[in-house]
């Protein structure tokens, strides 16, 4: 790249890429993953409308009955239609991770960019604060939160957001530091552009692909952790439908020979997490490739 080329912000070359072309570049595996994620999102939004049977109506006489008569996946331990519960459960199962990702990525990005931009004492202070958070694994913090504030999705989601923030911040700080030392940033500073303007209009768009890739991968982790917490009984509370809760509720069916309810809930989780991992990995590769 010529010297003048380095002075021009690289984002001008990238603005032409639409979401469509980015997604298409992820290959067939990427496209399938997007389809799975879209399906789960649609279920999350329209689940209660699409469910063929009432998801919360117990009927113990029908407990553990297998598939048949329009009930695609049979009944759960309380005689409720499993398929309907899966559809309705998509909402809490997807919403929780979404909130976790939104909070931790936003907070993490802001902290990372401030630390990378200011460097010096601000960077050290933020680094020290995040170091403390590194000591707490996500699930542990969520259990602690449940003990203190009572079980529930809000407490668990907030706890996970706090626990994830340092990881996001560390990755993004590295990328932001590299971007900040690019010649075009110095050129902009010399021209008198304000720090916030440079960050918002130039720095962030250039590390945006990395942020998106991180967020996607993080969604998978959040989904697994939140489902685990709900499985433990400390997250979403029954009778609300939730994939993690459904596994724990219907666990007793397995030794009795009725694995379908628990397994189908597990399959939903695994499918979405695989899709998100595959997509995230491909987006990450793209983000790295553009930087070279």
């Amino acid at each position: 790249m010529t010297a003048t080329g380095r002075l021009m912000a690289p984002v001008t070359a990238r603005r032409g890429r639409s979401i469509g072309s980015v997604l298409r570049a992820t290959g067939p595996a990427g496209m399938i993953s997007v389809a799975v994620i879209v399906a789960a999102t649609l279920a999350a939004i329209f689940g209660p409308l699409l469910a063929p049977f009432p998801p919360n109506l117990p009927n113990l006489s029908l407990a553990w009955v297998g598939p048949g008569g329009g009930h695609l996946l049979g009944f759960d331990y309380q005689g409720r239609d499993v398929f309907s519960r899966l559809l309705v459960g998509a909402r809490s199962s997807m919403l929780g991770p979404l909130a976790v990702v939104a909070i931790s990525v936003t907070a993490g990005s802001v902290l990372a960019i401030i630390a990378a931009w200011r460097r010096g004492p601000a960077d050290a202070a933020i680094g020290a604060g995040l170091d403390i958070l590194f000591a707490f694994p996500g699930i542990l913090l969520a259990v602690l939160a449940a003990a203190v504030f009572g079980a529930g999705l809000t407490a668990a989601a907030l706890a996970l957001s706090i626990a994830y923030m340092p990881y996001v911040a560390r990755v993004l700080r590295g990328a932001a530091l590299k971007e900040r030392s690019q010649p075009y940033v110095a050129a902009l500073e010399v021209q008198g552009a304000k720090a916030t303007v440079i960050c918002l209009r130039h720095l962030i768009p250039n590390i945006a692909p990395l942020i998106v890739a991180q967020a996607t991968i993080l969604f998978g982790y959040a989904m697994v952790d939140l489902a685990a917490i709900s499985f433990l009984g400390l997250g979403v509370q029954p009778p609300t439908a939730n994939w993690g809760v459904m596994i724990s509720e219907n666990q007793t069916g397995i030794p009795q020979g009725y694995p379908l309810p628990a397994l189908s809930a597990g399959l939903c989780i695994v499918a979405v997490v695989i899709a998100v991992n595959v997509l995230g990995e491909r987006l990450f590769d793209q983000a790295q490739a553009v930087r070279r």
């Binding site: 170091d131 542990l140 259990v143 003990a147 203190v148 079980a151 685990a228 400390l234 397994l263 695994v270």
Partner: protein, 304 residues
Amino acid sequence: MLVASLLIASFVIFAAVYLAPGNPIAALSGGRSLPPSSIAVLEHRYHLDQPFLAQYWYWLSDALHGNLGLSITLRENVSTLIAQRVWTTAGLVLYASLLICVIGIGLGLLSGLRPGRLDTSTLVVTAVSAAIPAFVAAIVLILVFAVQLGWFPALGNGTSLVDNIRHLTLPAVALAISSLAIVARVTRASVREEGEREHVQTAVSRGIPGRQLIQRHILRNAAIPITTVTGITIASLIAVAAVVETAFSLNGLGAYLVQAAESKDLAVVQGISLVLVTAFVVVNVVVDVLYAALDPRVTLGGNR
């Protein structure tokens, strides 16, 4: 640095419980109403009449002496209760770590060094396993190996040492499966990346034979990221063990922590949190030390 982390973590744990809504006296008395003299006695004994920092100090010094308070529900020493369960958790985590190191790294090395069919099938398998949360793996394993095949017991701890190991096998596999996949992928990627590096080209251009090339230049260098990721993954097992213990009805620290959180037995929650966080921080410090030992460019305590 290690001590500072632990100190602050313990502070956070204590503060979180301190801020919990609810009246500690009510918790201690089990909801019964007590005469004021009894309340005063309880307040004095549990230092509830002291300022926040003093309470923190009492708790911490007690903890360092091994006294973590009393469980409200079981009315026993928390330390005793922890000691009874710590070996289950430790055994589970160690068993899973062994699986991760041997199978995860082994698979990663094989597929990294030999491109071909083994490599592509490993990629697919690990992509799927990495997405399987421990509790989903747990129910599948119970279904297949305990209920249908009857090879391993489904629940409980077992009696003798050998029986313990038998009982811990399915839980360890459930705990290890997704981490194993991640470690295998990272190992493979590191080995591949290292193989493309310029210094390997230099060695090739000087006629260094293949085996030495792999050992001294590829593996030795790839060991750095591999060790770091494996270490962090093992550290994360400490928290996820709670989920597996619950699924398999093992009486380990994690399962007990969850029960205590549900029943608001706060002393137990504090005590176990402290133990688990300490273990987590210690493992992370060990990883940092190993990293510095393997990479001569890095000094301990240097900037990241």
